[in-house]
């Protein structure tokens, strides 16, 4: 099974727009999913400056898919969906 990679952007914009609250996931995700999911804290992914979508921060990347206005719920939902599809 391919590992799911989650990158959470900790660039300035994302951080103040909410990714600061996602820091806990760095501890909870490995506990919950073990080696199935890898969570990477990323510095600015540059997504906030693209195409005028400034206010959609914070951003996360799950594999290559962009998650705008990322929250812990959204990220976990995406992970769960991917894990189910794998099964």
């Amino acid at each position: 099974m391919k590992k799911i990679t989650v990158k959470i952007c900790f660039g300035t914009t994302c951080f103040v727009m909410g990714s600061a609250y996602l820091q806990d996931m760095l501890e909870t995700i490995p506990v919950k999913y073990g080696s199935k999911v890898e969570l990477i804290p990323a510095k600015c992914l540059g997504l906030c400056s693209k195409n005028g979508e400034y206010s959609k921060a914070p951003y996360a990347l799950i594999n290559e898919d962009i998650i705008a206005e990322a929250t812990a719920e959204k990220i976990i939902k995406e992970i769960e969906e991917r894990l189910q599809n794998e099964n």
């Binding site: 660039g11 600061a20 510095k43 600015c44 400056s49």
Partner: protein, 387 residues
């Protein structure tokens, strides 16, 4: 030569404020530095006012090149008189020096300074000037020439009298004890900064006190004449992106410590120099985004939030330095003598989203504020390069 100077103080255990006062001023364009350490009569607020007035006036008189005897008499006449003791008094040590190593020192009442070269104490010559108006006011005047790696250490009598009356040190630490402490520290760490040396002297003096209660205000002012330690802070992408490579190369070729403040900036340098940026082992820092790692760079942090927090730390009365990214940036900045800021003028549009907190400042302004406090409070030499 660069003159690294710092002073650490601790107040008497039962007072709210330190009665010793330290002030210094650097004149970067002529390589001159004046510093004064004064110890006010008694302790607490009263002593603080006396020493503050004395050191500030002494700095102004020295700056203007006034006759030292006249200056000290004017100061003594201006000080408010203690109601109990019917006298007004604050001792002082005033240093006027330049980067060529010419040092003039005037001491009145403070313990004699310690001059260290190659772990040995040099005993300088001095002449004495007595006040015509005030009895027992004798000033010791020294004109000395220091060499690179020499150190001068000035203390208030709280240091030399530390431990007075205790079993081990009936007469207190005294000058000999102080010299012992200094040489021990220097033997272990010959390159120690003035800040750390002052800190270590103060904590060693504190250890001598009974129950660790400081019986008098203690201050240690250290000076270290050395080749300057250079540092470079690169923050923000250049305005013209076709210059990215040019500036990245300047960053690469810089001789000294280096820091990058900004995620986009780190990406840019990584791209131009083909050095990967890696995530550091992540420790959630709460209020600040994490740091990263790049080979050949001492510190890689996020930009504006970290800079703003670092400014808060530097500006607070006693810098509270945590081990968060901003605290590490503060340590990086304080452990240097000359700092160059390369500031990219490109605007990050995303920072102007009205949904973002208003605290997000313009980079140039934050850096200017940091530079001002580094220059004025921590006596660093600052240069800017706008890109």
């Amino acid at each position: 030569m660069f003159i690294d100077i710092d002073c650490i103080q601790k107040k008497k255990y039962d007072q709210h404020i330190c009665g010793d006062y330290f002030i210094s001023k650097r004149y970067p364009e002529i390589g001159r530095l004046i510093a004064v350490l004064s110890d006010g009569l008694g302790s607490g607020i009263k002593a603080n006012i006396l020493s503050c007035m004395t050191s500030t006036m002494m700095l102004k008189f020295t700056e203007a090149g006034k006759d030292i005897q006249k200056a000290s008499e004017i100061i003594l006449e201006s000080l408010p008189i203690c109601r109990i003791r019917k006298i007004s008094y604050a001792t002082f040590s005033a240093v006027d020096c330049n980067e060529e190593g010419d040092v003039k020192i005037v001491e009145e009442g403070n313990p004699q300074f310690v001059w260290i070269r190659d772990l040995k104490v040099i005993q300088p010559e001095f002449r004495i000037i007595s006040s015509k108006k005030f009895n027992d006011r004798n000033m010791h005047i020294y004109n000395i020439k220091v060499k690179e790696n020499d150190r001068l250490i000035f203390c208030s009598d709280g240091v030399t009298q530390a431990g007075l009356g205790t079993e081990k040190l009936k007469l207190g630490l005294r000058r000999e004890g102080l010299i012992g402490i200094i040489t021990d520290i220097l033997k272990q760490n010959p390159e120690i900064s003035s800040r750390k040396l002052s800190k270590n002297i103060i904590s060693a003096a504190l250890q001598k006190e009974e129950k660790l209660l400081i019986k008098d205000d203690i201050s240690a002012m250290c000076m270290f004449f050395r080749t300057p330690r250079q540092a470079l802070v690169f923050t923000g992408p250049p305005y013209y992106s076709d210059k990215d490579n040019f500036y990245a190369k300047i960053f690469q070729n810089f001789k000294g410590k280096k820091a990058i403040c900004g995620g986009t900036t780190a990406n840019l340098i990584s791209r131009e120099l083909k050095i990967p940026v890696q995530n550091e082992t992540f420790i959630p820092s709460g209020n600040l985004p994490p740091t990263s790692y790049m080979e050949g760079v001492n510190l890689v942090t996020e930009g504006i939030l970290t800079l703003t927090k670092a400014y808060e730390y530097l500006d607070s009365a006693e810098p509270v330095v945590n081990n968060d990214p901003a605290g590490r940036l503060v340590n990086f900045l304080l452990d240097t003598d000359c700092i160059t800021f390369m500031i990219g003028a490109k605007i990050n549009q995303a920072h102007y989203d009205p949904n973002l907190p208003v605290e997000i400042e313009i980079r140039k302004n934050v850096v200017k504020k940091i530079a001002k406090v580094l220059e004025e409070k921590f006596i660093k030499k600052i240069t800017f390069q706008y890109m």
